[in-house]
């Protein structure tokens, strides 16, 4: 297939030339593909070029020493250099491919070799273009945050609780394999101790949210449960919620956050007991229930001996949930403005199926299949799906961006 494509791509060569001088035309839509490589849209490259010139300007200013140190600008600078680096890499690789292609077509004797070489470069090119695309799209506002994972069983009774426990183990192992700091904030087993009623896992690595945010949604499992006596396959679900961690660790910061709520917005319930309390009783119950009226969020926290700590944890989770809610709303608004775009990452849908009899994991959003249940549940192969999902997401977002740009152009014409 590769061969035939290369043969008949005189047109694409022209396109490549145009690309290298950076064509301004937005309407020029044809893209070339080599095997599984798809060239980036000229509009995106245009963007990259703009960044490159901005970086150059910035560097000039910096070398003159006319700028004072500014954290925000430094951050921006490092982001720009990352973009420009991958852009340059992309350009050089694509021009190599281009040259090789010309060679293959003009010179009979070198055709075989050139095609071999192209084949070798293509995977690298796919990677570079993916990275560039990722850099070019506006980053998620919480992409540098650590994250909190909440896992709850869905339909399926005890089996769902066991599956929720399996998921928790998987994420814990994943964090462990990556050598990320993690701890369990809250963990409530069911009565028989075989599964969980709910659990909250905190992964304290900056950027963990970016990696794991596509895990949010309903996970479906199909297997013969341990509780099943007749060997039938059951389908159960567990829900995963991924939240960005917002609170800083310092006690002062947490306290000032607690104080930022109006008293009538929030209600803190502690252990309710009859009797006089105080010196009359000596309770060990430190459970705290936090209710946030405007959003209707209720959080129970009881794992710590210290009521104070339980409260602080509850507030940290409230904060994460509110931040996530706000972000979701913003995204929804943006989507509504785009008129009826179908969202692909809706969390009300099931996002993934774990089929144990077939040893298969399928992600329904990007259609990715993985056949290694054991490795996946041990948290070793989760990266495969995470990467697939991230690529899928950046593709979708790139398409949305292009569509926006085109609509804009059409309107302005």
């Amino acid at each position: 297939m590769l061969h035939s494509k290369l043969k008949s791509s005189i047109f694409s060569r022209i396109h490549f030339r145009k690309l290298l001088v950076l064509n301004n035309s937005l309407r020029f839509q044809t893209t070339v593909s080599f095997g599984d490589f798809k060239e980036l849209h000229p509009l995106l490259l245009e963007r990259a070029k703009k960044y490159a010139s901005e970086l150059q300007l910035m560097e000039q200013k910096m070398s003159q020493g006319s700028l004072n140190f500014d954290v925000e600008r430094e951050k921006h600078f490092s982001r720009l250099s990352a973009i420009v680096d991958s852009y340059r890499k992309y350009c050089s690789e694509i021009s190599t491919v281009c040259e090789l292609q010309v060679m293959a077509e003009n010179d009979e004797s070198l055709r075989e070799e050139a095609q071999e070489e192209i084949k070798e470069i293509i995977p690298a090119l796919v990677k570079t273009s993916g990275a560039l695309l990722g850099h070019l799209l506006p980053p998620h506002p919480f992409s540098d945050r650590p994250c909190i994972l909440e896992i709850r069983p869905g339909v399926g009774g005890i089996e769902a609780m066991i599956f929720a426990q399996d998921l928790l183990n998987m994420y814990t192992n994943y964090a462990h394999n990556k050598r990320w700091k993690h701890h369990i904030i809250s963990h409530n087993e069911n009565e028989s101790g075989s599964g969980i009623v709910d659990a909250i896992l905190s992964i304290d690595e900056p950027g963990a949210y970016e990696m794991l945010r596509f895990e949010a949604g309903v996970h479906r499992v199909q297997r013969i449960p341990a509780t099943e006596t007749k060997g039938r396959t059951h389908t159960s679900t567990a829900a995963v919620i991924v939240l960005p961690q917002m609170a800083a660790d310092t006690e002062k910061e947490a306290q000032s956050y607690e104080r930022s709520f109006k008293p009538d917005e929030i209600r803190i319930d502690v252990m309710r007991a009859s009797g006089k309390g105080g010196q009359h009783v000596n309770t060990t119950d430190s459970a705290v229930r936090l209710t946030h009226y405007p959003s209707g969020i209720v959080i129970n926290m009881q794992n710590e001996r210290s009521q104070h700590k339980n409260k602080a944890k509850a507030f940290a989770i409230l904060r994460a949930r509110l931040a996530e809610m706000e972000q979701k709303e913003k995204e929804q608004k943006a989507r509504d403005a785009r008129k009826g775009q179908v969202s692909t990452t809706d969390r009300s849908d099931k996002i993934r199926t774990y089929n144990f009899p077939q040893n298969r994991i399928t992600d329904h959003r990007c259609g990715f299949n993985l056949h290694d249940m054991e490795g996946f549940m041990a948290g070793e192969r989760l990266d495969d799906i995470v990467d697939a999902m991230r690529n899928f997401d950046s593709d979708t977002r790139a398409n949305e961006l292009l569509k926006d740009a085109e609509d804009f152009k059409m309107n302005s014409e």
């Binding site: 028989s192 502690v270 309390g277 010196q279 009881q302 001996r305």
Partner: protein, 293 residues
């Protein structure tokens, strides 16, 4: 209190052999499991876990077993013979500390300090305070100084019976006084106090009715600008309120309020001077509780 059903015991036994022992104190399987987890965290051997659980069946306080009780961000050591800090006390102390400006240089006196929890937490949250703490029990003072050393918080500790009139006279004037005096009257001790408290906590830190509130009005009010006293029942609050209202000089100078805890029980009686103070107490105590006088 309703009896625990035998079926609950059986269920607990199926989960963990040590669990049924915790049921009399915890009352429910969920709470017992939580407590078992805490015990397991502190114990190294299974045998020790078992022993602790057996002690818990005899209502021995968990805090004495694990030798500590969280109090705000601090971990306060606990020992037989000294009262275990309560969450209600933690709640109002945290509230009070957060009302003070973070660099306030006030002088605070904590009476009946016991494990030293109130004094240490106040000093920890507002390090610029000068804190004096007193107790009449040598056991309490030694534990409090141990706590202060362990947490590296500097408070002045003194062994003194505060009901003794000469105690106050020896001290210079100060800004605020906190106290968690024994407030369970003899008459209600048997009926309204839980078994664990009755059997294992020091009566010295529990039994009292009005003597500390009387002592407050009589001796300590003249030395301070504000006071916060924990109470067990409404009569103790009204006692302080009436005493101040009846005195013509005090009545003009002082305002008195009551504060309830999160469990809607009366917990604190507080008061402050309206004039001639280093800080504006009316602002600090705004919405702390309900002003009555």
């Amino acid at each position: 209190m309703p009896r625990i059903r035998p079926s609950t015991f059986r269920k607990a036994l199926a989960i963990d052999k040590a669990l049924p022992f915790l049921l009399p104190e915890c009352r429910s399987i969920a709470a017992a499991k939580q407590e078992l987890q805490w015990i397991k965290q502190e114990c190294h051997t299974k045998r020790q876990v078992f022993e602790f659980c057996k002690l818990r069946r005899n209502h021995y306080p968990l805090q004495y077993l694990l030798k500590s009780q969280p109090f705000g961000p601090l971990d306060i050591s606990c020992k037989r013979g000294v009262l275990i800090p309560r969450w209600e006390t933690e709640e109002w102390t945290m509230d009070l500390a957060q009302r003070l400006v973070s660099n306030s240089e006030l002088r605070l006196v904590d009476l009946c300090t016991g494990s030293g929890c109130i004094a240490l937490l106040m000093k920890h949250l507002r390090p610029k305070l000068t804190v004096n703490a007193f107790d009449c029990s040598p056991l309490a003072i030694s534990l409090a100084s141990q706590n202060a050393q362990k947490l590296n918080i500097h408070v002045q500790l003194g062994l003194q019976n505060i009901l003794d009139d000469s105690a106050a006279a020896a001290l210079p004037d100060f800004d605020i006084i906190t106290c968690n005096p024994p407030y369970i009257p003899h008459s209600t001790f048997v009926k309204e106090t839980s078994t664990s408290v009755k059997l294992y906590e020091p009566k010295l830190a529990l039994l009292g009715s009005f003597e500390f509130y009387e002592n407050l009005v009589k001796t300590w009010l003249s030395k301070t600008d504000a006071f916060v006293y924990e109470v067990g029942e409404l009569s103790q609050c009204t006692y302080v309120q009436n005493k101040i209202a009846q005195d013509s000089i005090l009545s003009k100078l002082w305002r008195v309020g009551f504060k309830f805890d999160s469990n809607h029980r009366i917990r604190v009686v507080y008061g402050y001077k309206q004039a001639n103070t280093t800080v504006d107490w009316s602002k600090i105590f705004q919405d702390f509780g309900e002003l009555k006088h």
